[in-house]
Symmetry: C2
Subunit: 593 residues, 2 copies
C-alpha cells in the first residue's frame, strides 16, 4: 500500500527547492539529480521491503522487559545493520568522515520516506545519527575514535538522555549528578525517563548522550553538562564492561509502540562512568544541536505518519462504495471519493501533508545553504530563518498530524475505528509529536518570547520579506492573485498582532505577553504554510502554462483548499489574540475544583 507520493517529493526537491543547484558547490559537485533520485529509490525499496512489513507487528508486539533488558522486534537487529551498511545513518557527512556528502534535503527526504513506512523503526537510526553527530561536533578525538564508527554502522545505538522524573519541559531542573574523578572521567548518579531507544537488544551497545549536573555547578540551565555515557564501556583491551546503567522499566504507550522508551537508573553501584563532551556547564548549548535536528525530524515524522494515513484513507475512499450523490436517488452507489465532504477530508490531509513537507524541505534547504554558503551574510540570513521556522516546522506538522490522521479515520467510518485498517494506528502514533522534543506550548514561547523578541523583530522582518517576495510574484498570476492578496493581508495582520503583543512585553506584562503564545504559533504557522503553498502554486502555474497536467492541476486545487479552509483559521486566532481578556492569567487554582 502506498505510504507517500514520490511524484510530490520529486516536485518539491527538484522544481520548488531545486536541489540540483546544490551541485554548483564543491561539496556536492559529484552529485546530481539522478544520483539523488537513486538514493530515494533505494530508500523506498528498503522501506517497502523491510520496514513496512513489520509496521503492525511492532505495534501489536511492543517491547517488553526480560531479565533487566528491553527486547524489541527481532527484525530490528537486521534493520540496524542495513541502516548502517547502507549509509542511512551518516550519509550527510563528508567523505573523510565516512559519509556520502549527501545534502540534508535529500537525507531528510529519506527520513520522511522511512517514517511513513514505519515510524517506530525509523527512530532507531535517527537517534544514533543525532547522538553521533554530537560527539562528532563536540567530542574529543578519543571519543570520536571510540564511538563514531560503531554508531554510524548501526552496531551501537545512540540516544539523547535529557528528561528526568522531575524535569521534563523544565530541563533546568534536572538533578542527575556527575562527580569528577581523578581518572578524568565523571561518575553519574541519577535517573532518566522517556529515553527513546534507551535500551534494547537490537544493538550491541547503547551510547547515551546525557545531560547531568557536575557537583558544584550553578543552578538551572547554566549548570548542565553533556556526557557520553555508554551502557557498556569499552575498556582499553577492547572488552565491553557493564557501566552501571540499569534499565528500570519500559513505558507502555498509546502508539509509537515499536520503539522502546526506557526508564534508566545510573550509578546504583557507584560505577557509572561518564565522559565529558564539550565544556563543563555548557552542555545545553551542545545539546541544542541535536535538539534542533530532532525538532525538524519530529516535524518530518509527523508529516510521514499523516502521509501514510492519507494514502490509506485515499485507497479506501476510491474503492468503497457508499451512498449516492445528491439527486441521484435510485441510482447505483458511488465511491466515497465522489462525496464532497470526503473530498474535503482528503484535501485537508493532503494540504497538511504536502504543505508540511514543503516547509520541512525549505528548512532542510536552509541547512544545506548554511553548510555550503561562503557568503557570511547569506549564511546568517539562512541561520536566522531556520531558527525562526524551527518551532513551526516542529509544531505545525505535529499538531496537524493529529487532525489529519483523525480525518483519515473519518474517511473509513466505522472501519476506521477498528484495527482491521491502519488509520487508527497512525492516529495513535501521531499523538506523541505535540509532546516530545518540546511540547507545543514550549515552541510557542520559543517563537514569540525568544526568536521574535530577541532582536526586536529583525529576524521576523527577514521572513516577512521572503514571504512578500512570493506574494508579489504570485500576484502576477491570475490564478494566484486572490491567494496572494489573502496571504498579504494575513501577513499584515500578523505583524500588527506581533506589535500589539510586544507592547505588553515592553510594559513588563510578561505573563500576558506569552499567555497565548500557543495560539500565536498556530496563526504564524498557517501563514508560513500559506507561503509554502504559494511557492508550490507558482511552480504549478508555470508548468500549466506549458501544458495541462493533472499533477499541477491538483496542486492548484489543494492550494485553493488551503487558502479557503485553512488560512481563514488565522481570523479566529487573531481575534483571540487581540481579545480583551486575560482569563488564563487571572484565573487561579482556586477556581478549579
Amino acid at each position: 500500500m502506498q505510504y507517500y507520493d514520490r511524484r510530490n517529493l520529486d516536485f518539491l526537491l527538484e522544481e520548488v527547492f531545486k536541489i540540483q543547484e546544490l551541485s554548483k558547490y564543491d561539496f556536492h559537485k559529484e552529485h546530481n539529480l539522478e544520483a539523488y533520485k537513486m538514493v530515494l529509490d533505494a530508500c523506498t525499496d528498503l522501506s517497502t521491503k523491510y520496514m513496512r512489513p513489520i509496521l503492525k507487528e511492532m505495534d501489536v508486539n511492543q517491547p517488553i522487559m526480560e531479565n533487566g533488558r528491553i527486547i524489541v522486534h527481532p527484525k530490528m537487529k537486521e534493520l540496524m545493520n542495513m541502516f548502517g551498511e547502507g549509509g542511512w545513518i551518516n550519509a550527510p557527512l563528508s567523505y573523510e568522515e565516512g559519509g556520502q556528502q549527501m545534502p540534508y534535503s535529500v537525507f531528510n527526504a529519506t527520513m520522511f520516506i522511512m517514517g511513513a513506512a514505519n515510524y517506530s523503526a525509523s527512530v532507531f537510526p535517527f537517534l544514533s545519527a543525532g547522538a553521533a553527530n554530537l560527539i562528532r561536533s563536540f567530542g574529543t578525538d578519543e571519543q570520536k575514535a571510540t564511538y563514531l564508527d560503531k554508531m554510524y554502522a548501526g552496531i551501537w545505538q545512540g540516544t539523547m538522555a535529557l528528561t528526568e522524573p522531575e524535569a521534563g519541559s523544565s530541563l533546568g531542573d534536572l538533578v542527575t549528578s556527575a562527580q569528577r574523578t581523578e581518572e578524568g572521567y565523571y561518575k553519574i548518579k541519577g535517573q532518566k525517563i522517556f529515553i527513546s531507544c534507551g535500551d534494547h537488544d537490537a544493538c550491541e551497545n547503547i551510547i547515551h548522550l546525557m545531560l547531568a549536573r557536575i557537583e558544584g555547578a550553578p543552578k538551572g540551565t547554566k549548570g548542565i553538562s553533556l556526557f557520553v555515557v555508554p551502557r557498556l564501556r569499552p575498556e582499553a583491551n577492547g572488552e565491553l564492561v557493564f557501566n552501571d546503567v540499569e534499565t528500570a522499566g519500559v513505558f507502555h504507550k498509546m502508539g509509537y509502540k515499536g520503539a522502546p522508551i526506557a526508564h534508566l537508573i545510573m550509578g546504583e553501584k557507584d560505577d557509572c562512568r561518564a565522559y565529558l563532551v564539550g565544556e563543563e556547564h555548557k552542555g545545553l548549548n551542545c545539546m541544542f544541536q541535536m535538539m534542533n535536528e530532532a525538532r525538524i525530524a519530529v516535524g518530518m515524522n509527523a508529516s510521514s505518519i499523516a502521509s501514510a494515513a492519507y494514502y490509506a484513507a485515499l485507497e479506501y475512499a476510491k474503492e468503497r462504495k457508499q451512498g449516492r450523490k445528491l439527486g441521484q436517488r435510485g441510482k447505483e452507489q458511488v465511491t466515497l471519493i465522489e462525496h464532497a465532504d470526503v473530498k474535503r477530508l482528503l484535501l485537508l490531509q493532503r494540504a497538511m501533508v504536502e504543505g508540511s513537507l514543503s516547509l520541512l524541505l525549505e528548512c532542510s534547504n536552509y541547512a544545506d545553504l548554511i553548510r555550503l554558503s561562503e557568503d557570511e551574510a547569506a549564511r546568517e540570513k539562512y541561520e536566522a530563518l531556520l531558527g525562526l521556522l524551527t518551532p513551526v516546522a516542529k509544531s505545525y506538522p505535529a499538531e496537524m498530524g493529529c487532525i489529519s490522521t483523525s480525518a483519515a479515520i473519518q474517511c473509513l467510518g466505522g472501519y476506521g475505528f477498528t484495527n482491521e485498517y491502519l488509520p487508527e494506528l497512525f492516529y495513535r502514533e501521531a499523538r506523541i509529536h505535540p509532546i516530545h522534543e518540546g511540547a507545543t506550548a514550549i515552541h510557542g514561547m520559543d517563537l514569540l518570547g525568544r526568536k521574535i523578541a530577541k532582536d526586536q523583530g529583525a529576524t521576523l522582518r527577514i521572513l516577512v520579506a521572503e514571504i512578500q517576495r512570493v506574494t508579489e510574484e504570485a500576484s502576477k498570476h491570475p490564478q494566484l492573485a486572490t491567494a496572494a492578496v489573502s496571504l498579504g493581508k494575513s501577513l499584515d495582520k500578523l505583524v500588527e498582532v506581533t506589535m500589539n503583543l510586544s507592547m505588553k512585553a515592553m510594559q513588563g506584562q510578561m505573563e500576558a505577553f506569552l499567555s497565548n503564545a500557543t495560539l500565536y504559533l498556530d496563526a504564524f504557522s498557517h501563514i508560513v504554510l500559506a507561503w509554502q503553498w504559494l511557492k508550490q502554486g507558482l511552480v504549478a502555474c508555470t508548468a500549466l502554462a506549458e501544458k495541462e497536467d493533472v499533477f499541477y492541476r491538483a496542486k492548484l486545487y489543494t492550494l485553493e483548499y488551503f487558502f479557503n479552509y485553512e488560512l481563514p483559521k488565522t481570523r479566529a486566532l487573531f481575534a483571540s489574540l487581540q481579545a480583551n481578556t486575560n482569563v488564563t492569567v487571572e484565573m487561579d487554582e482556586s477556581h478549579f475544583f
Copy 2:
C-alpha cells in the same frame, strides 16, 4: 479519582433548567428536587463502586470470541443485574409500565455519570433501554409481554441492528431480507456488522431490533421494516431455542474496547425468525425514535468521556510541579496549573464539557416538556427545537470530545501518552463518537439540508428567537454585555450565511449547497454553545450579585474563555462558508492519485 463535577450537574439541573418545576405536572407530582438528588447520589455510588474499578480492565482485556460466542468482562453480568434491579434501564417509564416516572433530564444525567465512570459498561443498559422502548412504542401486546420485563430487568440485552457490510451511512442500501411465512413470522437472511452488544455472555439472551427488507419491498429507505430478532427465541413452553443468529466475529477497536461490537450472520440454516414491529416498510420511522435517543446519548457519553479526562488532567495539573512562572528564575518549581497555557488547556476542556452538558440537558428538558406539556403549540415548539438541536447535541460533544481529551493528554506531557495515566484511554474512546450514530457529515446535512431547509427556516427562527431572548437579558448585565453583543453578531452572521447558502439550493446547486454542511454544523454549534454559556452566565451573575462564590466566579471565567477562544472560531468557519470556491465539488477522483 473524580470523573464528573456534581456541583455543576446540580447547578444545571436546578438553577439553569429548574427541573424542580416539573413537579407541577401530574406525572412528576410525587417527585421533588431532593428525590432527584437521591437518584444522582445512588447513580454516583453505583458508578464509583462498581463501574469505575473495572474501567481499565475492560480496556485491557477486551471481549474475545470463544466457541462462537463473545465473552465480556465477568463483572458485566452482575452489573446488568444491578442496572435492572435498580431501575436504571426503565426509570423514565410510567409506574404502570414498571418505571419510576423519572424526568428524562434526570435519567440522562445518570447516563452522563455512568458514561464518565466507564463508558463501555454504560452502553449495555442504554442499548437495552433503547431497544425495549421501541417494542414498547411500536410492538404488539404479545411482543411487549414476551420481551419487555426481561430487557428492563437487565436479563436480556437489547441492540439496534442497522449497519451491514455494504450499508453504513447509506442505510437505504441494506439488503438483509425478510421472507413472509404462513405462521405470521418472517425469516431473516443477511449480515449485520458493528452491532454494539450484538452478542455477549453477560445476558441470557440478546434481542435485536433489526432493520430488514421484506421481499418485494421498494428500494431505498422506504422499503425497510423493523423486526424483533431474538438470538434465542422463546417458545410457547417458555423454552429458549437458538434462532439462527450466528456470531461471526468481534471487532477489535482502538478504544471503547469493553463493549463487544459484533458481526452477525442470520439465517444460515434458514431458521432465523423475526417478528414485525410496526407496519411493513415503515421500519425506519420507528427506528428513528431509537436513533434520536441514541444521538442524545452519544452526545452525553462524549461529554462524559471528556469530563473524565478533564478531571484526570486537572488532578495531575494540581499536583505535578514543573517549571516556574515567568520572571521567577531560581525560585521553587510551581504546579502545572499555575502556567497560563495549562490553564488554557484546562479551560478548553471545561468549556467543552460543561457547555455540552448544558446543551444536552436543554435537549432533555425539551424531551420532558414534549411528554408533559398539554399545550399543543408549546409541544410543537419543543419538538421543533429538539429536532433542530439533535445534530448539534450529538456532533459538537463528539467532535469536541476528541479535542478535549487531546488537551487532557497535553496537560500530562509525556506521561499523558503512557497507559500509566487515564487520558490516553479517554482519547481512544472519544474517537468513536464522531463516527457512530451518524458520522458528523451526516448530521451536517441533516441540519442544513433537512432540519433548516424543510420549512424555509421557520424552525431556525424559533431557535434564533430563543437565543435573542437570552442575549437581551444578558445585555442588561454589565459582566455579560460584551458577550451578548458577540453572540448577537455571530447569530446575525449565521442567519446571513444560511440565507446565502439557501440561495444555492434555490438555484438548484444542491451539491454546492451542502458541500460544506460539516463546517456549517460546526459554526452553528459554536453559536448554540455560546447561548448555553450565556444562560449559565445569567444564573451565575444573579448569584454573584447576592454574594461572592468561587463556583459562580469560575463559571464566568469559563464563559469568558468560551467567548474569547471558542466563539471566534465561527469567524474562520463563516469565512470558509462564504469563500468563493467550489473545490470540494469540482475536484474529481482523477486529481487524487
